[in-house]
Symmetry: C2
Subunit: 203 residues, 2 copies
């Protein structure tokens, strides 16, 4: 699913025309992760899309060709890894809406997964792209979870754009890294974290 | 690849005949992770096998059928997740040899990945199954890495069985969990870990 990005930004080295690059939110995050990896900042990967393989043929020795397979629903989120000893886990979503992102875009099993992660002391969140505003937000899991619980009680079935402005953190789009979400974690998330079990067991 | 397990063990509830179950090392670890998940002990998953999709057909509306795809070499290890706030990352290997496991069974990119993980404060290791002895071992990454560096200098190209006995930790096979590798982490790994960056930033 291609995203219509606005016209590019100029840097000293190169003109980045995002429309021409045909970049998507996902590939922008993958480029960011690649930057983090190369700079030894963090080790965060996108998990492969799970595929149910039904039939494989061997047109040549040692060369397996999958001839029948189906996409499976992932049971977790798309991205995970480690940063400064913290377990990081998130998913990326985008919406064309100007007012909100529907909660149906976020699967219940992804929310349950992120709940387990944060219960274990990990950092869970969403990166949400509002196409209409060309704005990216970091949404902490607890904000997502509050809205999810509200929806289960019959309340609002979406997270309003205003929640991102009030309780999320903007991520600026840049050349390299594209979407520096670890800056949000450094500035706003880590300082607020409680001591982990880890620290106590090592005293 | 099916593994010939010895005859089963009896428990009060059920006879576990591993030969009949056709279990492999990988599925034993997956069952263990499932146990950890259900008991809220840890959140650890096997990553899907990466597949390069070349061609997809749509025999029915909204039903994508992959008709040409190939297996890709994974760039990381098979398993990762979180336990008590620690990032956990490992791979599972098995060998029929009585004397050693060849280092060629462990890809260089997997070793580099585990190096990055442990440098970031994560817990990296291998679970190795010696089929001849029906023994499972937890091998800490630093032991693996020492042998790997030695092999690069033209030394021994395998990790001897004795290294597992001397520097690894046995994992007992059980009914549920099958392979309780977190017990090794609790008993031998966590007590030896240095304080993470995490703890200092929160003081």
């Amino acid at each position: 699913m291609a995203v219509n990005y606005p016209t590019g930004k100029k840097t000293a080295q190169k003109t980045v025309n995002r429309a021409n690059l045909g970049m998507t939110l996902e590939s922008d995050i993958e480029l960011t992760n690649q930057y983090y990896l190369e700079k030894n900042i963090a080790v965060i990967y996108k998990k492969p899309t799970p595929v149910q393989v039904v039939s494989v043929s061997y047109p040549a020795r040692n060369k397996a060709k999958i001839v029948e397979a189906y996409y499976k629903t992932p049971s977790t989120t798309d991205f995970n890894g480690i940063y400064k000893g913290y377990y990081i886990d998130f998913d990326a979503k985008e919406t064309k809406s100007k007012t909100s992102i529907p909660l149906k875009n976020i699967h219940a099993h992804q929310i349950e997964h992120l709940k387990r992660i944060t219960d274990q002391g990990g950092i869970g969140f969403l990166i949400v792209y509002f196409q209409s505003y060309d704005e990216y937000y970091y949404l902490p899991f607890d904000v997502l979870y509050d809205h999810y619980l509200e929806s289960l009680k019959g309340g609002r079935q979406s997270i309003p754009y205003t929640a991102f402005q009030d309780e999320g953190y903007p991520i600026k789009f840049g050349f390299n890294p594209r979407l520096d979400y670890l800056r949000v974690i450094d500035t706003f998330v880590i300082p607020g974290l409680k001591q982990s079990h880890y620290c106590f067991t090592n005293k």
